[in-house]
């Protein structure tokens, strides 16, 4: 909730087909898989959620200048703090 009040969102639950930008991570417990960072989902990266599999399945996210595509679950998206771009 605190996140939303500051105009911040988590990647999971971010509206589809809108441009957003990654601000940072919610990873104090170090529970976030490092693979998220290794694959290039770093702060300042722009992204767009293109699709989501049914029943809250994985999200299909396009990101970065190179428009890479990645699949990740909502649970992973919960670690990533984002904001909307206009």
């Amino acid at each position: 909730m605190a996140l939303k009040e500051n105009g911040l969102h988590k990647l999971s639950g971010f509206p589809k087909n809108r441009m957003g930008k990654i601000l940072g991570y919610d990873n104090d417990s170090l529970a976030m898989p490092n693979k998220i960072i290794e694959m290039g989902l770093l702060p300042e990266t722009s992204f767009r959620i293109l699709y989501q599999a049914p029943f809250s399945g994985p999200m299909y996210v396009e990101f970065g200048n190179e428009k890479s595509r990645i699949a990740l679950r909502e649970e992973e998206g919960d670690f990533i703090i984002v904001e909307e771009l206009n």
């Binding site: 898989p33 693979k35 960072i37 290039g40 029943f55 299909y60 890479s68 595509r69 699949a71 679950r73």
Partner: protein
């Protein structure tokens, strides 16, 4: 004496950057495919000769980071670190469309002190997207010569060979990763203490958190105050972020981008292929096409093989001298091996489709679609690949679980994959269904075909259900997650995949052929001889089958198998099947052709006519169903067991799998027989 020293080079890069295309273009003629029976570290290696120099290219599994998050990445990292003395250098493949991601691993390997050649593949693809790469500047910034390739069109392949010939592998002059200041002193202490000459390796001994090949972790030996600030996972994050920042500065000068670009084929295709509804429809259609081809397309080559072995059997029967050897060869070995070779087309077609799907990039979409559906069963979206390949053969399927990061999900997938109806079950199913199901049709579809379909479905359902049950009992190890690259679609390497498939099929035939050959001889031997019948004999030779050692052994196990409705011959068939399921057919043909009262009658008709002492048919409906269920569930494949042991590194789980599957098989078959008889 060997005049030419063979030079070994490694082919390294992220997954889906066109590594296998480059590999194929380099080693066009000489390759050996990964042999899954032995312990092979590298998935495969190939050779080429260029200007009198022979070069071995080791194609390692793709990886994103030196820090492994799955088994195949661990295999990769260990190989790069442990064999540093053995190879001349690394050919690193970057994909023009994902330079930044690729630079992470590139610089990690560079920092290990490994000499490298850098290849940028598919520059044309990037240009299509409006991205221009200043290769000169890029090369200057990295301090390494860059070879541009388009491996599909063979462009740049000779440049790679030339570079390998002249050893233009470059070692980094200084470490690209700036070790965080707060840890510098400590790193130097560790390096001095352990005698490590490379600063990055000293860093790795802290940041890895566990041992990785020759780099052993020092974290456990730290004092309390040290270890507080040195959490391996935090160090890894620190390193990765720094490297990305570094890559950003390099690339900002190198890449220029036009605002507009053409939509890629991938974007158009994915609108349908990962669609909430149509995505699943397409996946089902693809599965249907595959199975349709497996059963109907394969029919033609199967008929040719059938006639060939029938001819061979008749030919050997006629031309070999009369006697036991004649019957062994013409009625035991030849039909036994024929019974296996006939399934080669089906296995080949199935494998070929799977390779093409994998190659094209479609499999990642299937993982995306299936993840949510498989999770309630304790499986991961990535489990769908082993489950589908399990319908060809459990061995490559079990190996393909290596990219599942979570150990529990991987273990569950390994444990249930052998329930999938593999091609070795087909010969058994065909013969039993042929014996107990009528030729009638319903709505134009043969009952036989329906039953066979039902067996496939049964395997899949039982795999899922047993995963759900085991999920409750197996403790979770580590977090489960799905973070997966969705590669651009690529045209599959049709010819290369075909070559791989033919290799695998040949392995299957020779492997199974050898076993069946040996088993046939043993069975023939045990059935030709028997316990002595008078005191002056050592053993009795040329006894009636009913008095042979084999019959004695079969009768010995009869109490165990009779509740399932089997007589001693089927008992022998099942026993030999524990080597491999398909052996059942060979054993049955050997056993039934040994009864030489009516040599001209076909084996299957002899089986149909065979009766128990009480006058009941041996292959009644109840027994048939019981056999089908037994083969559907029992763990009867030594090669799979060996692979399961290798992949789980645990006797406990291997033994558990045998007990679980075979126990279930025994129970269900007994239940079915007792109800139906």
């Amino acid at each position: 004496m060997q005049d030419i020293q063979r030079k070994q080079v490694l082919l390294v890069g992220n997954p889906n950057v066109g590594k296998s295309t480059v590999f194929n273009a380099l080693c066009n003629k000489k390759q050996k495919t990964g042999n899954y029976a032995g312990v092979t570290v590298a998935s495969h290696s190939g050779y080429y000769t260029y200007k009198n120099e022979e070069v071995e290219v080791v194609d390692l599994p793709g990886s994103y980071s030196i820090y492994p998050s799955s088994e195949d990445e661990a295999i990769f990292s260990k190989f790069v670190i442990d064999h540093q003395q053995d190879y001349a250098g690394v050919i690193y493949i970057l994909e023009a469309l994902s330079l930044k991601r690729g630079l992470l691993l590139f610089q990690q390997i560079q920092d290990l002190g490994v000499p490298m050649i850098l290849v940028v593949n598919q520059v044309d693809q990037a240009e299509k997207r409006g991205i221009t790469i200043d290769v000169e500047k890029f090369s200057e910034a990295l301090g390494i010569k860059i070879i541009r390739t388009n491996a599909k069109e063979q462009i740049g392949i000779n440049d790679i060979k030339e570079a390998v010939l002249h050893n233009t592998f470059v070692k980094a002059e200084k470490q690209t990763f700036e070790t965080p200041n707060e840890h510098k002193d400590f790193i130097h202490k560790v390096a001095a203490h352990k005698g490590i000459d490379n600063e990055y390796k000293a860093w790795l001994s802290l940041s890895l958190g566990t041992d990785l090949g020759k780099i052993s972790s020092v974290v456990e030996q730290l004092n309390e105050p040290d270890s507080k600030s040195l959490v391996p996972k935090r160090l890894q994050v620190q390193e990765t972020v720094r490297r990305y920042q570094h890559a950003d500065t390099i690339l900002s000068d190198v890449i220029s981008k036009k605002p507009q670009f053409k939509e890629l084929l991938t974007e158009k295709l994915d609108r349908v292929l990962v669609h909430k509804f149509w995505g699943y429809v397409v996946f089902m259609m693809i599965l249907l096409v595959i199975f349709q081809s497996v059963f109907f397309l394969a029919e033609y080559p199967m008929n040719w093989i059938d006639s060939l072995f029938a001819w061979l059997s008749a030919f050997t029967g006629e031309h070999l001298p009369e006697g036991p050897i004649n019957s062994l060869i013409s009625k035991g070995i030849v039909p036994g091996i024929g019974g296996i070779v006939i399934f080669a087309p089906q296995i080949g077609i199935l494998l070929y489709f799977l390779y093409l799907l994998e190659d094209s990039g479609y499999m990642a979409r299937v993982v995306f679609l299936m993840d949510r559906i498989l999770r309630p069963f304790g499986l991961n979206g990535k489990s769908i690949v082993p489950l589908v390949s399990g319908t060809a053969c459990a061995i490559p399927a079990v190996i393909s679980t290596r990219n599942i990061e979570n150990l529990k999900e991987r273990l569950l997938t390994i444990l249930v994959t052998p329930f999938m109806t593999c091609s070795a079950r087909l010969p058994v199913y065909s013969i039993i269904i042929g014996l107990i199901i009528s030729d009638d049709t319903v709505l134009g579809i043969k009952y036989k075909a329906l039953v066979l379909m039902g067996m496939y479905l049964l395997g899949f359902v039982v795999a899922l259900l047993s995963a759900a049950v085991l999920n409750k009992f197996i403790k979770n190890k580590g977090k489960t997650y799905l973070v997966m690259d969705l590669p651009t679609y690529k045209k599959p390497l049709f010819a290369y995949d075909l070559k791989m498939v033919l290799g695998k099929v040949w392995d299957f035939i020779t492997g199974a052929g050898k076993i069946i050959f040996i088993v046939s001889i043993i069975i023939w031997f045990l059935s030709y001889f028997g316990p002595k019948q008078s005191s002056d004999q050592w053993v009795a030779t040329n006894v009636e089958l009913d008095h042979s050692y084999l019959a004695k052994m079969g009768r010995g196990i009869e109490p165990v198998i009779s509740p399932l409705g089997y007589d001693w011959k089927m008992g022998v068939g099942i026993l030999t099947s524990f080597v491999a399921r398909e052996v059942f057919v060979g054993t049955m043909s050997t056993l039934y052709s040994l009864e030489d009262d009516a040599p001209e009658v076909k084996v299957i008709d002899k089986m149909r006519r065979d009766v128990k002492p009480n006058g009941e048919k041996v292959f009644s409906f109840a027994t048939g169903v019981s056999v089908l269920l037994f083969y559907a569930f029992a763990m009867q494949c030594i090669s799979t067991l060996a692979v399961v042991y290798r992949e789980t590194k645990s006797w406990k789980w291997t033994a558990f799998q045998v007990a679980m599957m075979t126990g279930l098989a025994y129970f269900v078959s007994m239940l079915a027989y007792q109800i139906l008889k």
